[in-house]
Amino acid sequence: MSGYRTAPATNAREAAEWSTGRIIQTNLRAVLGRAYPRIIGLTREPSWLFFEIFLPFLAVSAFVFVYRALDAPEAFIGFVVLGGAMTAFWLNVVWMMAAQFYWEKDQGNLELYFTAPMHLMSVLAGMAIGGLVMTSSRALAVIGIGSVLFGVSYDIQQPFLLAGVFLLTMIPLYGMGMLFASLFLLWGREAFHLAQLLQEPIYFLGGVNFPLGALPGAVVGVVMATLPLGVGLDAMRQLAFAESGVDGVLPVGLEIAILVAMGILFLVAARLALGYLEHLARREGRLTLRWQ
């Protein structure tokens, strides 16, 4: 049953002319509709809950035990736990944002997206919001369980700033996912390999399990300019472990500015990439072929 309360059109031209209000309403419905399965999936798919907490937690445990074997300072255990929680978001971005359009194409949904009267950015925004809510529960569980089991002690002097940095990190992170969604689709069959490529190498470059400053200066420079996961994690570590004695790469204020710039850049780039993708889809019709 349709929820629209507009008067029936008398001809095709009238039906095609939508008011701004109706366009916004339709796109908002698309955002909610795409976010809904990810949020409701929290309660309907308990096995997801298990795997998305259990798998990052296994990795976190392994790295914690490595640090224990090396007699590392306790702050490093906290670094790993926080890094493990952020890994959950990164995995969500890679597999459920970047690769999502490719899976949708395989399942035959993508052509429905192209023909539906909404902007594709609304679908991506819905995926991002749903994914963010879904993954937050996993990340909180990893932090909670990891902190209790491994006795992590935090030294948070500016909790609101920490929360703000976290939210600021999510904008470029999911913006990057939106951009990759278009690119993965364009690169076709390489999608699976690309998603694989964006795991361990990014954990390494993003300093997920060690302070980012441990990497060579040139590498850190590239990371600070391109990878929101690395920038956000470095800022959050400075705020969550203020007395750890491990310096961040840059002052928190500067890292916040970088995150803001990245957020704008990735969202604009995602918008442009989607436009190009839509153009290709209509011109070539190739983007709806399975396994291509």
């Binding site: 490595v66 069959r189 390489e190 954990y203 997920v208 399990n209």
Partner: protein, 293 residues
């Protein structure tokens, strides 16, 4: 309805011969490679294949450098060898399970393979071999980087290394075969199980830290796992010495004995379980089930 009027003479319906199995195996290798490489650009494929294991090893190397400042090279060697060899476990487990799931869910070919006169078993082994081969490349590559750039010194003892590798890979394959059969039974999320199981074994096998660090209640599981003994025997075969901690104090003979004993239990259990899982899959109609995994 068709009526068979001619009774088959004895010998006209034969079981699978070794030649048939070899043909299935060979064909499946080609198919597996084509799917795994996904008909992609060879250069790009090589980059994807190399970047993941190298990055995994480099994470450990940086962690080691940050804490020790490059001291205690024995531990670094322990890390590099464990990290390199673990690619085999991911490759075998992932290869066997993903092969059977992809053929059932994505390509929808599993039921056709099962109803052919050929056996599923050689097909499955061949189909998964591409991932195993890629994992072996990752092992060589990680060790190579360790030797060239990180000063890892290999002192190979072939008398330990060769049997340890053969028996160890047999043990890992048995685990993969068990998982492949088990994942056929699952309603959903089957593709995550190999990762979860491999991750759990990674934790208890002493791949990147001595098992003494584990909580006490996990020690019996660690000692029962053939992967623990395979890694320990392989380290001795590659480095000329064992792990730091309790395992390192055991004699080579005892380590090999535990490897053989645990593998001798794992292999028949896995094969029996796989046969039972396949029988159940046929009876319950699971061979063409799609779960969205």
């Amino acid at each position: 309805m068709a009526v068979i009027t001619e009774r088959p003479t004895q010998g006209s319906v034969r079981g699978i011969t070794l030649a048939d199995a070899w043909r299935s195996f060979r064909t499946a290798i080609g198919l597996g490679w084509a799917i795994e490489a996904n008909w992609s650009d060879p250069f790009l494929f090589a980059v994807y294949t190399m970047a993941k294991p190298l990055a995994a090893a480099m994470i450990l190397v940086v962690m080691f450098q940050v804490i020790t400042g490059g001291q205690n090279t024995e531990f670094l060697q322990f890390l590099i060898v464990g990290s390199a060899l673990w690619n085999v476990v991911f490759g075998v487990l992932g290869g066997l399970v993903q092969s059977i799931l992809e053929d059932r869910e994505r390509y929808r070919m599993l039921k056709y393979v099962v109803v052919t006169p050929s056996s599923l078993f050689p097909f499955l082994l061949g189909r998964s071999l591409a991932r195993v081969a890629i994992s072996l490349i990752a092992v060589v590559l990680t060790l190579g980087v360790g030797i060239i750039f990180l000063g890892v010194e290999l002192r190979p003892d072939l008398l330990i290394l060769v049997p340890a590798s053969i028996i160890g890979i047999l043990a890992v394959m048995s685990l993969g075969i068990f998982m492949a059969g088990w994942c056929l039974q699952l309603r959903q999320e089957a593709e995550h199980y190999p990762e979860a199981i491999a991750g759990a074994i990674y934790l208890i096998s002493g791949a990147i830290f001595p098992i003494d660090i584990l909580p006490g209640f996990l020690h019996p599981i660690a000692y029962a796992s053939p992967t623990t003994w395979w890694l320990e025997a392989s380290r001795r075969g590659l480095l000329g010495h064992g792990s730091p901690g309790a395992l390192g104090g055991l004699s080579d003979g005892l380590v090999m004995l535990f490897l053989v004993a645990s593998t001798a239990i794992a292999v028949p259990v896995a094969l029996t379980a796989f046969a039972w899982f396949m029988k159940r899959a046929r009876q319950a109609g699971l061979l063409d089930m799609t779960t969205g995994s």
